[in-house]
Symmetry: C2
Subunit: 465 residues, 2 copies
Amino acid sequence: MLKLTNGHGSMFPLLLSCLCFLNSFGFVVCGFTSSFIRTQWPAKDIPLDNEVFAVPKGYNAPQQVHITQGDYDGKAVIISWITFEEPGSNKVLYSSVEHQYGHTAEAKVLNYTYFNYKSGYIHHCLVDGLEYNAKYYYKIGLGDITREFWFQTPPKVDPDSSYKFGIIGNYYPSSTFNSLSTLDHHMKSGGQAVLYVGDLSYADRYQNNDGTRWDSWGRFVERSVAFQAWIWSAGNHEIEYRPDLGEPTPFKAYLHRYATPYMASKSSSPMWYAIRRASAHIIVLSSYSPFVKYTPSGYGYVANSSEWIGRDTLADCHHAFSDYNSNEAHYMEGESMRAVFEKWFVRQRVDLVFAGHVHAYERSYLVSNVNYNITNGDSFPVPNNLENSFISPHISEYPVYITVGDGGNQEGLAGRFLSPQPEYSAFREASYGHSTLELKNRTHAFYQWNRNDDGVLVQQTLLCF
Amino acid sequence: MLKLTNGHGSMFPLLLSCLCFLNSFGFVVCGFTSSFIRTQWPAKDIPLDNEVFAVPKGYNAPQQVHITQGDYDGKAVIISWITFEEPGSNKVLYSSVEHQYGHTAEAKVLNYTYFNYKSGYIHHCLVDGLEYNAKYYYKIGLGDITREFWFQTPPKVDPDSSYKFGIIGNYYPSSTFNSLSTLDHHMKSGGQAVLYVGDLSYADRYQNNDGTRWDSWGRFVERSVAFQAWIWSAGNHEIEYRPDLGEPTPFKAYLHRYATPYMASKSSSPMWYAIRRASAHIIVLSSYSPFVKYTPSGYGYVANSSEWIGRDTLADCHHAFSDYNSNEAHYMEGESMRAVFEKWFVRQRVDLVFAGHVHAYERSYLVSNVNYNITNGDSFPVPNNLENSFISPHISEYPVYITVGDGGNQEGLAGRFLSPQPEYSAFREASYGHSTLELKNRTHAFYQWNRNDDGVLVQQTLLCF
Ligand SMILES: [Fe+2]
Ligand SMILES: [Fe+2]
């Protein structure tokens, strides 16, 4: 509340400066482990001939259409799609008027092989110079076999721009029906863009890292990502290091298929970047790249980045900071990344850190362990407190760490939590679901986690800032 | 002592199971910070026209000759050299009889550019199938301009094979005269091979990462490394990431110039490997590569390596584990790597961990912080103690961490230590020097640190195992 008048002009000065956890009855609850027992879904894969994976009809029809932000501030998109029979047209026709496509942009076309899989022709097209807060229509394909979609640009970058994000991770639609439910819920919840915290197709779980699973994944999520930007970060299932198959290049399929606007934020690696979108500033970290001090693309990018703004908002990664997750699965795997980046998050006043990887949901209180070192024994994460300021009381707020590795995946849920629940842990539940973050203005934002069950959207937690 | 009869047949079952620190008067001293004030040397660079950097005479004369181990067990060497005028001969003639070269091996030749620097022709030649414990002579060059050297192979891999290593890091000869002294001392101390813990030429400290500094470094150290294997690990000064110069590939010069036998230990990266040499088993880690869980070349190599033996001996890296160094310079920079690898070191009973990077000398007691996690508050490193066993008392010994970043370098000494001296720190002094480790047999080894001063070899510490 104090920060309401501090006037440092940055984004979300109050985001998370007061944090309450209300259960559905409105009571404040501390350190809650949900006893909710989720309904059992069928455990086997959805068959690949299910309509959700259907290939669009027609010779060389564009498929797996997806868009992401194309610049730093949200006035560009990268439109990507794949054709199989031939490269086909590399043009995107677009316009703010439906069916009257007055503008054209050209895509780059690439492909790759992975063991005995041969990819289709992957098109990435930057469409820039767009207006804020406008609806655009676009058309791809050739002759009779064209497809049309639309997207909405975000409002202008401003601390008071309202915007609603969905946050999804470890989202594997072809396994069980949980993921169907997650995407369905996201699309009903009004999220305008998605922060995707890694682990996409899980192709690496199939024989020879079956590349066709990347394609079926791409076709499945098209229903959302052709119409709104998903902001990508890479997970361990994207590594696909298989020298035994002659495939020693990490992230080969992922990097060919998913473009990011990294150069717009002066990053040297497509896996590290920053964007601003409406009132959010988002920094994407790469958990499986070099990131300790002196490494240029990781530490160098974060430490030297001109992309830090007065108050940064969201950080996005795959398993960094799973320390602040008290699930037994992957416990402390994030310690290495915490040791490097937590000090930057505190210093730059990052508000929320989203990670995936752990197949459960958990939210921490505002915590920091930056005072820990191997000599002093200060090992407990401390809650946000002006007495515990890192540099000065004016920038002492700590982030909240949120694990959203519960999109629904082949590996099942991670149901064993540390007991007793650590003091840093505010809420945890082993269910599938996704989160929404609704930024209202510079003083208010609402965050909620949405459990999947019975096809009903369950408002499980409400945070008010 | 208990371990004398446990008969698990591994190397150095007793190494470091008892550890005493004797000062020069034979008293046991705990947590000692040396008050020694080193003599001042001239602070400016040795001029490049000094004889120590001299180019060998003659057209296309081989220069910068260096050897390293070429296989897993010490029966091969990689002989490397550079010619400037033309590729020249790619042959190594060698024999166990002087001047009678009955064997030939062929080198691969490569070169590279770095900004406006163009390297010479870099030759790497594997010479294998050698006998243990034998002297070999070798000749390189063509016509009248040949050069002859020799090396000694190590004794056979056996827990009782005696061997003496020098350990050098951050060794930069063209800056001040400290490094001259370090190499001189190493050559007088009888070390049979060198563990080099990173930061070689410091070419990155000169304008446009002046590649000629790599060459002068190579010429300077030839006096030792042409005659005995130096085992390389990479430091931050090898990264040389300069996209502003059009040089975005990390470790470009280092990887072209310094070969390692990584494939012999089934590593996928030249920066991670293991070798056995006499009674030592050495694992080389790369501080600036991806190494968290799921990364294949780092974590994957260490965790899944068939190269672990019953008792591993030495680990080599550049800034990992500088946590166990209490110098204010780079304090806690190694935390990220400690979080990943310390558990493996304890589990696999690594005896000594050598690191460079900090420009001072420090030795820890046998310590471990593997019990630390972000929930339990057990943050203090604990001393070796059977009560504190990690898995079972039989494998409970912890490593000693030794920082040898004091070869002598352009950046000067790091003279500020944390006060009070942490309990894990046994001895520390801000002087230039190097270490020697003399493995006697399966029950005894001697380790000492050799301070440079006034050209006199100073026996500063003695460890008896
Ligand atoms: Fe994951
Ligand atoms: Fe260094």
